[in-house]
């Protein structure tokens, strides 16, 4: 309880964490409340009102098929955010597992996983992702999995380094002397103490995953029309960039704002969590 209170106190005192956090929550609420906020169905076409500039009727204008851009964008945010979270969930799971196992057991297991990380890192990420998409075919599910499978390496290294520094602490030895199993030691004693950098990395990871998803969708390899995603709204908008600026400007701004808010939150969390939450009292 005390720690939670202390965290809240530090969090609200940290400007970038606070701004980032509020923005992230707003975006989440908008995505969840999408059907309530939008006056139109995201794929409802109305050719009579195509390519309308922003007006009271269509807040952000309409596209070449007469669909309401505002509705498409807020429904798109649902897809972008869920791709982001699902991808990060997968990459965090892999990263935690690989990092913890490598760091804790060391030896050839560590060698094996770390070489694997090197290999994954040595292939240009976008090239790797594009190859996989072409191979597996574009779909929301595939995009989530592919992003998850290609972005776990940094976290694995981070967790491994944390575990290495933690595993020889005396409380770990004490647990071993009590006959605790490896699983118990990793789950109960090591990971909870290694979570601070994981939280930070997850936050940055969501931003990164959303950016990759937008990029893929923009190239037509991600979320497929008619499902709206910020990336594919941009794609269809780019043909009209000279006549209908709103088709590209708003999704671009949405991507930008989302990335910024997650990065602010991540930055803030790093500042709060880095000199550990619960350090022993500083000695004078």
């Amino acid at each position: 309880m005390k720690e939670t209170l202390k965290f809240i106190k530090l969090f609200s005192a940290n400007k970038s964490a606070l701004i980032g956090g509020v923005l992230v929550i707003c975006l989440g609420v908008i995505a969840l409340a999408a059907p309530l906020l939008s006056g139109y169905a995201p794929d409802g076409q109305n050719m009579a009102e195509k390519l309308q500039p922003p007006s009271r009727l269509h807040l952000l204008g309409t596209d070449e098929l007469g669909r309401d851009v505002f509705s498409r964008m807020i429904f798109g945010s649902r897809i972008s955010l869920s791709v982001g979270f699902a991808a990060v969930f997968i990459s965090t799971l892999i990263g935690l597992l690989v990092g913890a196992v490598s760091g804790y057991f060391g030896g050839w297991i560590d060698q094996f996983f770390m070489r694997l990380v090197d290999i994954v890192l040595s292939v240009p990420a976008l090239f790797f992702i594009l190859m996989l998409v072409v191979f597996l075919g574009p779909s929301i599910f595939n995009v989530m999995v592919i992003i998850g499978l290609t972005t776990w390496t940094d976290l694995a290294r981070l967790v491994r380094a944390e575990v290495l520094s933690l595993k020889n602490r005396e409380y770990i030895l004490a647990a071993r002397a009590s006959g605790a199993s490896h699983a118990r030691i990793i789950i109960k004693h090591i990971l909870p103490n290694a979570m601070a950098p994981v939280f930070v990395s997850v936050t940055f990871g969501v931003a990164g995953a959303i950016l990759i998803e937008s990029g893929l969708s923009f190239l037509g390899l991600g979320v497929q029309p008619p499902d709206p995603s910020w990336g594919n709204i941009l794609t269809s908008g780019k043909d009209y960039i000279e006549t209908a600026w709103w088709l590209t400007a708003f999704p671009g701004m949405a991507i930008f704002a989302t990335i910024i808010s997650y990065n602010l939150l991540g930055e803030g969390l790093r500042n709060i969590l880095d000199p550990r939450l619960s350090g022993s009292k500083e000695r004078v």
């Binding site: 005390k2 004490a174 006959g179």
Partner: protein, 260 residues
């Protein structure tokens, strides 16, 4: 009666000089044998790097030896695997030097002390842990607090409670008072002595501080470069040291009572 028997234990570490340098072998423990009787405190003194902590960790099975045997109560520990060893962990425990590093900062005191019993599936773990905390002189309010709320001396009491909660026969004390303030150090030494009498414990007391070892041990072993160079009765080793290194060690102690 012999409780712990150490037979020809050898442990070598390979160390590389620099990143590309040649490997050299460090003989951390070099053919050490001794035994500890039930109810006895054996002091193990030596300077940093002499292998005393490595030896201690081999005895309570936190490290594997290269060769040699360890017996506890007649059972050969060195022949057992992880699962066979598990029930025997109840009988041997360890107290570390640094009370700040030896408690998990995220686990409450009560849970930390009860952990050994939980692993052993003892249903009475919580009550026993509370009782143990009381026994080492901590208020019952300590049970639900976190480690950072305690001073060094209190933390060492918690570590002692954690080690003793499974009612072990043998305790390895690895420099348990070295990082404590002098006035607190004396409290912990007294506590260890009291608990030994009360619970019939057997200690292997590792320390670099001859003054502390002299005050708590029945017998003393002196270790240097991985070997036990002298082992004798507390009185004998202090009054009639045979080995040159033992003599140097005794002569190096800065005493307050000594006239200069």
């Amino acid at each position: 009666m012999e409780l712990v028997k150490v037979q020809n234990i050898v442990k070598h570490f390979r160390k590389q000089k620099g990143m590309f340098g040649a490997f050299e072998t460090v003989k951390a423990v070099d053919d050490v044998s001794f035994s500890i009787n039930e109810g006895e405190t054996l002091g193990l003194v030596g300077e940093s790097g002499c292998g005393k902590s490595t030896l201690g960790r081999i005895i309570i099975r936190l490290l594997r030896e290269d060769s040699g045997k360890i017996f506890l109560n007649g059972k050969e520990l060195t022949a057992l695997n992880f699962n066979e060893l598990k029930p025997l962990r109840r009988d041997m425990q360890i107290i570390f030097q640094d009370p700040f590093a030896s408690l998990n900062p995220r686990i409450r005191i009560g849970a930390a002390v009860a952990e050994t019993l939980e692993i052993l599936k003892d249903e009475d773990a919580v009550r026993k842990a509370a009782k143990m905390l009381e026994m080492v002189g901590l208020p019952s309010s300590a049970f639900s607090k976190y480690p950072h709320e305690f001073s060094g001396g209190q933390r060492q009491r918690i570590c002692i409670a954690r080690a003793l909660v499974s009612r072990p026969k043998f305790i390895l004390c690895d420099e348990p008072v070295s990082s404590l303030d002098v006035s607190v150090q004396a409290q912990i030494i007294n506590l260890l002595k009291d608990l030994k009498d009360e619970l019939g414990l057997t200690y292997l007391f590792i320390s670099h501080d001859l003054r502390v070892v002299r005050n708590i041990s029945d017998r003393v072993a002196v270790m240097k470069d991985g070997k036990v160079v002298e082992i004798a009765d507390n009185e004998t080793i202090y009054k009639y040291p045979v080995n040159a290194y033992t003599k140097e060690l005794i002569g190096s102690v800065q005493e307050t009572g000594k006239e200069l």
